[in-house]
Amino acid sequence: MYGIGILKGLVVTAKNLLRKPATIQYPEERVPQASRFRGQEFTWFVDRCTGCASCAKFCPLGIIRIETDPNGGNEQDGGSYRVDVFDIDQGRCMYCGMCVEACPYDALHMGSNFEAAQYRREDLVINVEVLKARDKHPSTWYRPQLEREKFDPFEGQPKEWKDAGRENPFWHPQRPEMLPDEGDTRPTANGEYK
């Protein structure tokens, strides 16, 4: 009969009428974010940074500008450069995380916030003082040591440079125990997850 398909369609929309709307009223309610969210405000531990500028080398857009002073002292094992200028031009940054992945000393972490809009383009460039002053809510992107302790970047206490910890650089390939402590992630017999 000609109209049957159309009626079935109307029944489906009626079913959806009774369901709760899926939209969220943004300013009041917030979408829950994943802890690995690559956010805007970078977290940078000045004590861990040795000024090696590998983050600037690996940035696909080349928007990180670092100027270091060779005779600067630092508690890090062995001397390191004192970083005078560390500008990240967030106006052109695409938050791909290459710099965080390239940082050998886990000094630079992705931020976890996405509302750092400004009125002028110059304000989008964050410099050394801003990075030092900002309280540290690092995202757990490419930081398994934060993920292992279930660190939630969105609330609670900021992280100090000591306990941000530094993952052994060879954690990935060779040693299977590198997995987060949950160990096996396949469901057990009764379909539960540890």
């Binding site: 369609g9 929309t13 009626a14 959806n16 009428l17 369901r19 709307p21 939209t23």
Partner: protein, 390 residues
């Protein structure tokens, strides 16, 4: 006692001006008329704006989202917010536009639907005029809307608008006939064309008595109003805005309001002709009328949220090859019945209901076997001279 006197509002103001203010007779008559018009027109426009909000809210809920809820409680002032926004928007008249026609089109679109209010009985005794050719009058007003669409499309000098208006004219004309046939069936049953008599005659709501008539009326009316599945005139995906593309500011606002007021008018018509107007149990007659109208509007939004659009040549073939024969069957059935029982009693009406439902149950499947919209109109199309040239 002209019908106007029966109207409570009119007689109230007339009495008030003559006795308390002691004004002359003609002034009282004028004031009474103005009062009635104020209430009817503003009430209708208010329902029209309310429907714009209701449509967005209902369609939103159908699409599992919330719909407007920022302006006023539950977003109810959204329509007023839209109107204010449109007032401040710049009113652009394109250089190539035919200025006079371009400015006149929105007025010609809104005026008929307000004029058609004169015959709508909103409740017991509250109607502006009880014309004995009310149904014909409403159909005439409906026809003017297609003229307005043509004026808008032609005068805005935009290819897509021209296409939109050409489609509109073809569609509106070809759906007038089934609409008139459906209304013919109703007047046959009621014996008169005046709305009040139709409601009096509806001991059993005409929706039950002539289901085919109701179905045809719904389909033809949704084509008249450019409602999905027939909204090819301002199809967003193809013609960007159809005949409305070049309109901005309050001109667009008037067009938008006219479109929604037409839908409310269609709802009122459906309520009167098929759902027995204000006649029903304990609730006051006006409330029943509003409930029926908003019921129709909910179904209209429901259909709008679900159905995709038909192509223009499919719409025309659907009108001429399937809707028109169906309306003939409907009129034939009702004519035979009214000849058999000129003044149907309640029992005879129920027999008619049974007979008509059987006819409907037979006609629709039989015709739907023949419905074949897939063979494109291209098959039998004459090859246009242009095509030979290319």
């Amino acid at each position: 006692m002209s019908p106007l006197e029966e109207n409570h509002i009119f007689s109230g103001t007339y009495g008030f001006v003559t006795n308390t203010l002691g004004g002359p007779d003609w002034l009282a008559y004028g004031m009474g008329a103005v009062a009635v018009i104020m209430i009817v027109v503003n009430g209708f426009l208010l329902i029209g704006t309310l429907f714009t909000w209701m449509e967005r809210k209902v369609v939103g809920r159908f699409q599992s989202r919330v719909g407007p809820n920022r302006v006023g409680p539950f977003g109810i002032l959204q329509a007023i917010a839209d109107a204010v926004k449109l007032l401040f928007k710049e009113d652009i008249v394109p250089r190539r536009a035919d200025r006079l026609l371009f400015n006149a089109a929105p007025i010609v679109m809104l005026a008929p639907s307000l004029l058609a209010l004169a015959v709508i009985p909103f409740g017991r005794g509250s109607y502006v005029a009880d014309l004995n050719i009310a149904v014909l009058y409403v159909v005439a007003m409906g026809g003017i809307a297609s003229l307005a669409v043509l004026m808008a499309g032609y005068s805005s000098g935009n290819k897509l608008a021209l296409l939109g208006s050409m489609r509109a004219v073809a569609m509106l004309l070809s759906y007038e006939i089934p609409l008139v046939m459906a209304l013919l069936g109703i007047t046959l049953l009621a014996g008169s064309m005046s709305m009040v008599d139709i409601i009096e005659a509806q001991h059993v709501p005409f929706l039950l008595v002539s289901p085919l008539g109701a179905l045809i009326f719904l389909i033809a009316m949704s084509a008249e109003l450019n409602r999905p599945p027939f909204d090819v005139t301002e199809a967003e995906s193809e013609l960007v805005g159809g005949y409305l593309t070049e309109y901005s500011g309050m001109k667009f606002g008037v067009f938008y309001l006219a479109e929604f007021c037409n839908v409310v008018l269609a709802g009122a018509l459906f309520a009167i002709l098929f759902l027995d107007g204000w006649e029903w149990a304990i609730l006051p007659s006006h409330l029943w009328f509003l409930i029926k109208v908003f019921g129709f509007l909910f179904v209209a939004s429901w259909v709008r949220a679900t159905l995709p659009r038909m192509r223009i040549d499919q719409i025309l073939t659907f009108a001429w090859k399937y809707l028109f024969p169906l309306s003939l069957v409907n009129v034939l059935a009702l004519a035979v019945e009214t000849i058999a029982w000129p003044d149907p009693s309640l029992g005879q009406l129920w027999i008619m209901v049974a007979v008509n439902w059987v006819i409907a149950a037979l006609a629709i499947p039989l015709l739907s076997l023949v419905v074949d919209l897939k063979t494109p109109a291209r098959a039998g199309r004459r090859v246009s001279p242009v095509e030979e040239a290319i």
